[in-house]
Amino acid sequence: MMQVPDQHGRFGPFGGKYVPETLMNALIELEDAYNRYKDDPDFLAEVRYLLKQYSGRPTPLYYAERLSRHVGGPKIYLKREDLNHTGAHKINNTIGQAVLAKRMGKKKVIAETGAGQHGVASATVAALMGLECKVFMGEEDTKRQQLNVFRMKLLGAEVIPVMSGTRTLKDACNETLRYWVSNVNDTYYILGSATGPHPYPMMVRDFQRVIGLETRDQILEAEGRLPDAIIAAVGGGSNAIGMFHPFVGDAGVKLIGVEAAGRGVDTEEHAATMTKGRPGVFQGSMSYVLQDEGGQVLPAHSISAGLDYPGIGPEHSYLKDIKRAEYVPITDAEALEALKLLSRTEGIIPALESAHAVAQALKTGRSMKQDEILVINLSGRGDKDVESILKYEAEAEGGHQQ
């Protein structure tokens, strides 16, 4: 298999750097800095130290016995990214990028956030390293995720509500890029997913690879062999690419990315970029995009604010087109059912994002044998979602009564 990305940041036809000229040198500077430090023993030691002592890695690979029995198929393992400090995999990346920002001499960082998880993870590392932090968040999302807004403020970050466009994650990304264009000389942009212009998709993947690398060691220790299938939720795709990447060369390991089908892929309210989108250029890279015939980007919908995004990281588009990974949709309702099931069978309330992966595991698991192994990347914990779930249930209840 080809080494991706190539020196132009291309994953096959996907990726690249489609940004205004003002940002080009900043991206080149970032790429140079990353290339200089990514194999530097001191840099790696600092990142590794923080992952271990600050975030609590390695996260466990937990054998979900009761869930496995319920499904009646394979042995199901959960990679417990929800047990990271701040409650999700996002911190793996923000630690890496903040250490890089510090080495580059930057004192200010900015970040975009949807559900607030990446915003919180960015505010956290900014506090840890004494960096000034601004987080851009769609105004709609600041209402849906008030607790995370408050957490970010407690951590000393400034939260800037974004009033443009659909006032959700995609517009928060646009606004962060616009701010970066104006302040590129002294500001580092901590991008939260494996999306955007090169080198972000590669760099975020590399910082998230720790998920897959640990899983590999842990499953070999527990079972003496690699899993038959791995399932992860995909919005921009950072937890999934971090989990998948160390297994891409293992043809026997099926890789399944789960995207949000919202109210259904045949409605207009979904975020099923792979199922319903087509290749285009969006927010700095070529990848699958939800768009109309004229190339205008469509609003996405999902019960989970973290999957509510009309694009996807370019490496996922590449894995789809070379048929190394498959991407399937799961609806709001299916995700919610899976969330409840995991809560009751295992005492683990997953994030709504991760619940999409659990829901797909129930489907995939049904056709697998008992001696097979399935790993779910449990990317985050569900505490942040309790309010959205209450609201969703109340609305569904109201709908039934009519």
Binding site: H8, G16, K17, Y18, V19, P20, E21, T22, L23, M24, N25, A26, S164, G165, K170, D171, N174, L177, R178, V181, S182, N183, V184, N185, G280, V281, F282, Q283, G284, V289, Q291, E293, G294, G295, Q296, V297, L298
Partner: protein
């Protein structure tokens, strides 16, 4: 016949202005704001106001390089589901009504990509365009696009920014039409001051470029236009004009023909007042 060897109207205008010692005034307008018919009338008004060429902006859902004024104009236009081909149609309608200045399309890459680059540049050629500006297509990504544009006789006009530094020479030396110099860091929008090193920046671009150089992003008054006039061949005014259109919306969308004409005249007068006076 090869389109590439025919003279491009942008080159002709700059040649003429060089003779007369004038600086080009290049307005930008968002097409379809508030509707296509009004856009045709506003293009006519821009020429009447003394514009030498015009940028026709394609509304886009995610205008990364644009500030709030142009974002709002895009949102208004997209509410009417204005497409890229509709916008190209504005140019041919304006030609039919006698507009003679060169047309430059300003679009983000994705709408052109989805139309198909061959078809996009074919339509530009058929509808009397002379140039294209694609703000999210840096030189690293533009090889195929540039080849197709050249084949259709359309100048693919590149942007250079104060942060371009060592890239300036490479961008400017392969430019066609003119080099679009971004006056300051940041997105489009009016500003009271430009990047501090603007003089040196423009001198660097000038030295590297074999085509004219024009300045845009943040120019909103004649004083600003004049302060730059000696250092460049043209000034581009976008947000200030789009804001004038926004302020004139109640008139521009009026059913009453007189009120509508009043709105168009207001935009025309605003553009006329921006025109830098002849240098020297």
């Amino acid at each position: 016949m090869s389109a590439a060897i025919t003279t491009n109207a942008i080159d002709e205008v700059f040649a003429r202005l060089k003779e007369s010692g004038e600086t080009a005034l290049i307005p930008f307008m968002t097409m379809g704001d508030p509707d296509l018919e009004t856009s045709v009338a506003l293009v006519q008004a821009a020429e009447a106001a003394g514009a030498h060429m015009i940028e026709l902006g394609i509304p886009y859902s995610d205008p990364l390089a644009d500030g709030p004024v142009i974002q709002r104009a895009s949102e208004r236009a997209l509410k009417n589901r204005i497409s890229l081909t509709d916008c190209i149609g504005v140019a041919s309608k304006a030609r039919e009504k006698g507009v003679r200045m060169p047309f430059i399309i300003f679009t983000y890459f994705n709408p052109a990509l989805q139309l198909g680059l061959e078809r996009f540049f074919g339509l530009l050629q058929e509808n009397g365009f002379s140039g294209a500006i694609i703000p999210d297509l840096p030189m690293e990504e533009d090889a195929e696009t540039k080849e197709i544009a050249d084949r259709h006789g359309i100048h693919l006009i590149p942007l250079v920014a104060p942060t371009s530094e060592a890239r300036v020479e490479r961008i400017a030396s392969r430019a066609s039409g003119f080099v679009y110099c971004v006056s300051s860091l940041g997105v489009t929008g009016e500003r009271s001051s430009f990047h501090e090193g603007i003089g040196a920046f423009l001198a660097t671009v000038r030295k590297a470029a074999s085509v004219p150089i024009c300045v845009g992003f943040g120019i909103s008054s004649r004083e600003q236009a004049e302060s730059l006039a000696g250092q460049c061949d043209g000034v581009i005014v976008g947000s200030a004009i789009v804001r004038k259109v926004e302020e004139s919306l109640p008139l521009l969308i009026a059913d009453d023909a007189d009120r509508k004409a009043e709105g168009i005249a207001a935009v025309r007068d605003f553009i006329a007042a921006l025109k830098p006076q002849r240098v020297g």
